[in-house]
Structures are given as C-alpha cells and as structure tokens.
Symmetry: C2
Subunit: 213 residues, 2 copies
C-alpha cells in the first residue's frame, strides 16, 4: 500500500508517519519509483504499536526507540528481551531516594527469597519502587511499606493472567508486542479497576447512607 | 514558623510556596506584622500533600485544587468524599472510545452484579477503563478484555489492604489524605511490583537458560 493508504488504515496522519520514518521508528518502505514507496502489513502493525506506546504509554520518541531495539534484537532469550523491554517502559520518576525506603525495598526482596542485598538503582523497576516509597515517606507515610506483601500477592494473580495472555501469541515478536501493549495498557486498566475495587470496599466500610454504587 | 522555616522543613522552595499561596493551594498564614506571616504544622502537612500530588501523582495545579476542595468539603459522607477525590485524581486519557470496548466494560459490570446498563462516560474511572480497552482494540488486542476478571480478583486483595491502611487514620481528613497519597503512590508501587511479578513468572515460563533474577 502507499503512504496514504497506510495513513487511512492506521488512523495516523501522513506527516506523523513521515516523522516516524525519519526517526527510524518505522522501517523504510520498498521504493517502487523514485518518489513512491510501498508499505505492507508489517508496517501497519509496527505503526499501531508505535502509536500505542506513544498514546497509551505516554512514552517519548527516545523510549519508543529503546523498546523497538529490544524487540528487534534477536540474539537473546525471550526472558532477557522481556526484561530489557520492561526496563525501557519503566521510568523510575524524579524523586530522591530515601535510604530508609531503599532499606524497605531490600527487606521486601529478602522476604521474597532474594538472598543477596540488591542495588535498587541497577534497575528502573526497583528504582521506581524505592522512589515511590521515598515519596510516601516524605509525606509522612512510612507505614506504606506494610502494604507491599499484600500488593505482591494480588499482583501475582494478575501477572499469571498476563503471562497466560501473552503465551497465546506464537512468534517471539508477537509475544513481546503483547507484553508491551499488555503491560502499558494493563497499567491503566489496573488503575481504573483498583479505583472500582476501592469504591466497592469503601461503600461497605464507610458509607454513612445507602451505597452509591 | 516563618516561610523560610516552612521551606526548610518541607523541602519546597520559598517562591514555590508563594505560588501555592497565590493559587489557593495553601491557606494564608496568620499575619504577625504587615510583611510577615506565621505558619503552623497544618500548613506543613498540606504543603507536603500538595507536593505529593504534584510530584508523585503528576497532577496539574487545577487537579490539585479539585482534590483539596473535595477534602475540605465537610458536609458529605466519607464514602462520597472518597468518590469525589478519586474522580479528581483519575484522568480518563485522550483516547477515543470504541463502542465495542464500551460494551466490554458494560459486560464486566453486568458480571459483577450491576443490573442497570451504565454510561461509562459519567465517571472518569469507567471512562479510563473504556479508553484503555479502546486503545487495546486499536492495536489489535480485542482479547485483552478476557483479563478483567483476573485483574479484579487480584485488585480486591489490594483494595482490602488499602482500606485497612486507610482506617488506621483517625480523622476524616487524615483518612482522605491517606487515601489520596495511597492511591497515587500505590499506582506507582503497583506498576513496579507488577513488573517484578512478571519477571518472576516469566523466568519460570520463558527462560532459555538459568533465571536471571
């Protein structure tokens, strides 16, 4: 298909597609004449993934590029690829780390079978966790760490569902694409469903009158 | 304390404090002379909450104002206050709603005991959920809706822990403050712990070699 058709089928404007091509987020089409390129379903698929990362994940162009590099690297185990992709889509945030919050994270890992002391700044994910607990401490919520084990129990149920979803896809590329989309869109779904779960539990516990939902 | 001391104890720069005062996010201090105001621990507490909402929650000044109005409204049940606060801290995102995704949300509510058909755009939370499922559909992941029930099961465990945490606080204001901080910081903690749970499950399922974590 030509770029106009690619735009129509993806819902992405032609100038945006050309911007992605220049930034290397979308591989060049096959030239059919000096001024015309041909695109296929792989381009369409990749374009939709880029769009999901930008619109759903709120990722910068630089972060999208990191994710695509991780997906396109073929000489690595799927588990390692998934780890690299998760690092790219996990921003630790700007908060300063409180040493007591770092100790809380290390205690959490120790409770969950990690025998060696971890360096939380070595991974964006553990850094994100320590930064969030630091923020909690800075507003007087040191005790927030008490919730970690219950959270992890609930999240293992969710992670198992995520992985079952992901293994429905056959090729490694599709598995990783499903993981990226599922992780990022799942973050938002989880935010919304957690608030609905709060409303349900809160109406049982706090309502002064009849429950509103 | 004077504004300099308030700045020192909160870690917020004096010009930022003055900006919050002008924007009405922080109540005025008690004037001790025409050019000097006195601030107390309530100011410090409120300043830390504003900082948490801005830095942790990434809320705009307008959204922070909405949250504070909800917290400061006294003539309402705690359950309704919590609902109003949750609306203020829940942004639905810009995605267009896919009617099929809206139907998925309605089917989810029907499965969980909601007898009447809901209008998903009436609440930011249900709008957020429908928007996320719409994004999933736009990248070919219609089947993502299959995860909702497992997610909700995991999130009820988390919501119960959240509510137990919140009721440790005595005054209604403190309960709501804990709910706001816990919801927003909890979003980030959950993002991080979900990725750790993924890594744990993925190393069992996918690793081509020995597990890396």
């Amino acid at each position: 298909m030509r770029v106009g058709e690619l735009s129509k089928r993806s819902g992405v404007a032609v100038p945006t597609i050309k911007y992605y091509l220049r930034e290397g987020l979308l591989p060049a089409g096959v030239l059919t004449s000096p001024n015309q390129a041909h695109y296929d379903d792989e381009h369409l698929r990749r374009l939709r993934l880029v769009r999901a990362l930008v619109d759903v994940g709120g990722l910068s162009i630089a972060s999208v590029r990191e994710v695509l590099v991780a997906i396109d690297t073929r000489d690595d185990s799927l588990h390692n690829k998934l780890g690299a992709v998760q690092e790219a889509i996990s921003q630790p945030g700007a908060a300063q780390l409180d040493p007591l919050a770092v100790a809380d994270v290390q205690a959490f890992f120790a409770r969950h079978g990690q025998t060696e002391c971890i360096d939380v700044t070595e991974s964006n994910v553990t850094h994100m966790l320590a930064a969030a607990l630091s923020s909690a401490r800075s507003v007087g919520h040191d005790q927030f760490r008490d919730l970690l084990d219950a959270y992890f129990e609930g999240l293992k149920i969710i992670a198992r569902a995520d992985l079952e979803y992901v293994v429905r896809h056959k090729s490694p590329d599709d598995v990783i694409e499903a993981m990226v989309v599922g992780t990022l869109i799942g973050d938002t779904v989880i935010k919304a469903l957690r608030r609905l779960a709060h409303a349900q539990v809160s109406s049982e516990v706090f309502s002064d009158g009849p429950a509103q939902n």
